[in-house]
Amino acid sequence: MNWDMFIDLLLDILHTQTGLFSLHYKLVVMWGIGLFFIYLAVAKKYEPLLLLPIGFGIFIVNFPLTPLMGFDAHGKRELFNIFYHYGIEWEVIPCLIFLGLGAMTDFGPLIANPKTLVIGAGAQLGVFVTFIGVLLCGFTLKEAASVGIIGGADGPTTIYLTAKLAPHLLGPNALAAYSYMAMVPLIQPPIMRLLTSKKERKIIMKQLRPVSKLEKTFFPLIVTGLIALLIPAVTPLIGMFMLGNFMRESGVVDRLAGSAQGSLMNIVTIFLGISVGATMQAEKFLTAKPLLIFSFGLIDFAICTMGGILTVKIMNLFLKEKMNPLIGSAGVSAVPMAARVSQMVGQQEDPNNFLLMHAIGPNLAGVIGSASAAGMFIAMFG
């Protein structure tokens, strides 16, 4: 072998078997985005359970020639593509996450004050307003629906709907939803203060009645029956949510409830984060659409927050016992962060006002409300 042949061989190896010569500035930009989300997760602790695997997924799939999100020479799916295909495309992961969430959730505050269910509906205002705004920007009907649901502040619902209607927007939609959910303490308080008077923020609500174990056990069965009857399109999500809750409240399958909210939840969260991050490859992500999605996501969140607060104010016109409008902002879902924000803003006005348990009601109603909105969109376009 002479020297020229050796150099040719070396160059050929470097070209075809390493990523060195396939690097591109777009890939470097995506590394920056991936590392930014890793930074938010690790240093700022913003939704670390999801932003960490998502950030790492973005980082790793944007290296050239990595056999992760494509197909091999024999047409078989590569590692992350397998997670994505069976987890997201088959809609398994969002439903399993809902199962775990159901097993974690105590619906007591919502059962004790069912009026707060209406707040969960009012807080979906942004979902529909954003839908129109996004349509005006040239998105398709299905894309607009998937972007609109971001304001519901419910990660699994956003992923479920986007995977069904606009799978190519999965990365930016999921990322916008989880990023803004993490930023609820920054986004909501100014809107809450703007829309409420000092007097309203000081309203002290009556203590919630105790809810019996039997009532809590019946609740998931009632919700499942009603939702399956009225919005069958969203039964996979709500059905799994209520199954998890029924396992918890029945008290006879503690092991199953423990697994659903513990190990199973952790396992699917890893696959969810990786799969979402892996969809964000440079050539698909670096377009104008993700930027628009992030902008509309923020507007969506703001309008949903306003919708919840205004719903409480309208309800107060007819109620004898007034509700504190600050609990309306919790209707955007984002459990339990949004409820904590209601408590925090309420206590800034009156340190003796404890709104947390009152805000959990609309918070949980928001989960059912955003799933219902998703069901409506699936029925329209699915």
């Binding site: 269910l117 019996s212 009632i222 939702i227 009225l230 059912i368 219902s372 909105a373």
Partner: protein, 74 residues
């Protein structure tokens, strides 16, 4: 899809119906929860008013004595 290709009448009206639809669905759920809440509250109240197992004279005396002694040592 261009903006002109969208049937805006359809988009807006179906959207409005579905937004109201969410209120209707959650409103029905609220109504059902209120009715079942009352039923459960009634059942609980009924359970509470059932006479509890009455204590014997000796047990009452023992409890009274214990309370008395407890007060005395304070």
């Amino acid at each position: 899809m261009g903006l002109e290709a969208i049937d805006w009448n359809y988009a807006i009206s179906t959207l409005l119906i579905r937004f109201v639809g969410i209120f209707v669905v959650l409103g029905i759920l609220q109504l059902v929860m209120q009715i079942t809440g009352r039923i459960f509250a009634y059942l609980d109240a009924k359970k509470d008013t059932r006479p509890s197992k009455s204590l014997t004279q000796e047990e009452v005396a023992a409890v009274a004595m214990a309370l008395y002694l407890d007060k005395k040592t304070d």
